[in-house]
């Protein structure tokens, strides 16, 4: 008698590795939206906060001259925006009731964008430097005051206020 018997068989599991069609290049994508905020700001620094000229013989020292004052300007503004540094004196040089006109206190300056020379004023801010666009700028300013025999004795003071404007 003939018996047909099936043995349970699973011979192989063939994984199609290496098939060119199965392994065509696959890609996946994603994206990120990036936002950077750049706001207006201005920063001004002076290397000196005080200038003090000791007394001197007018025949020997005809002009009081300061050490160079380094002026650092940093500004962020709109494209094409004007950046300006101005100086306004608080008044004339004053010692009690005696004065020396502040417009005799002059300066020379160096550095790109800085006014080469100027005179201080107590009513109208004087422009020390102008630039266009954002950026940082550095220059130096040297202040001078004639030393005249005509001055009355005293300790004369004035404050110079620097203003950086970046719209």
């Amino acid at each position: 008698m003939k018996k047909a018997v099936w043995s349970g068989v699973i011979a192989a599991a063939v994984v199609l590795l290496g098939s060119s069609s199965a392994f065509a290049q696959q890609t996946a994508g994603a994206s990120i939206a990036v936002t950077a905020h750049v706001d207006a700001k201005a920063k001004l620094s002076l290397s000196l906060a005080t200038i003090d000229w000791p007394d001197a013989d007018p025949d020997v020292v005809t002009v009081f001259t300061s050490a160079p004052v380094t002026v650092d300007v940093k500004a962020r503004t709109s494209a094409g925006g004007n950046v300006t540094v101005t100086v306004l004196a608080s008044g004339d040089l004053t010692s009690g009731t005696d004065t020396i006109p502040v417009n005799t206190l002059t300066w020379t300056a160096g550095g790109s964008g800085f006014a080469a020379n100027g005179a201080n004023d107590k009513t109208t801010a004087q422009t020390l430097g102008t630039w266009t666009n954002s950026g940082n700028h550095s220059g130096s300013q040297t202040l001078s005051l004639p030393n005249l025999w005509s001055y009355r004795t005293g300790v004369y003071t004035v404050t110079l206020n620097y203003t950086l404007t970046a719209p």
Binding site: A4, W6, G18, V34, T35, A36, H37, R76
Partner: protein
């Protein structure tokens, strides 16, 4: 179709009350005692095609304004971006992840080069880099199939020279499994 019943079989092959489990038992016993066997092979084909999947923990990246003197490099407000890359590829096939900016950082007519955005990466296969609007930059490379996770922390170079504005761009990530 069944063959003729043996001559000695006087009655029906199975009593009417014989149940199916009993039938199976009989067949198995017969198989165990058979001196010869016939085999047959069955082939199972499992197709595993290449595939790639990419996910990012954030869809937005923001750099807040800051003083360039105190923060010359601004970290993105979202912190590290987690990247999960899943890929099926051929054995030792190359899996690459790249990123490219769609444009420079732009605010109206003003631009800041996309290269002012950099990243520091962590995770096996991930590398540090600099964004570009012209060339896709590699973020990570691996070999073979698998799931990988890493993170990048993005930084924005903060300069005084930038014109004011709100600058935007889109970073496009591409995961390729060859």
């Amino acid at each position: 179709m069944r063959g003729p019943r043996p001559a000695h079989a006087a009655g029906p092959a199975f009593p009417m009350r014989l149940t199916v489990p009993v039938l199976l038992l009989i067949v198995l016993v017969a198989a165990g005692s058979a001196p010869a066997a016939q085999t047959s092979n069955a082939t199972l084909n499992a197709s595993i095609n290449s595939a790639a999947r990419l996910s990012l923990s954030s869809a937005a990246l923001t750099f807040p304004d800051a003083d360039p003197d105190t923060s010359p490099s601004i970290q993105a407000a979202q912190g590290p971006i987690t990247v999960t890359a899943k890929a099926r590829t051929s054995p030792n096939g190359t899996v690459t992840l790249t990123v490219r900016a769609t444009d420079e950082l732009r605010s109206g007519l003003n631009t800041i080069p996309a290269s002012n955005i950099t990243w520091v990466a962590s995770g096996a296969g991930f590398t540090n880099g600099t964004l570009s609007a012209t060339t896709a930059q590699p973020i990570a490379t691996w070999s073979g199939s698998g799931e990988r996770t890493g993170a990048h922390t993005f930084f924005f170079r903060n300069l005084w020279s930038y014109a004011t504005g709100t600058y935007t761009l889109t970073m496009v990530y591409t995961l390729s499994a060859a």
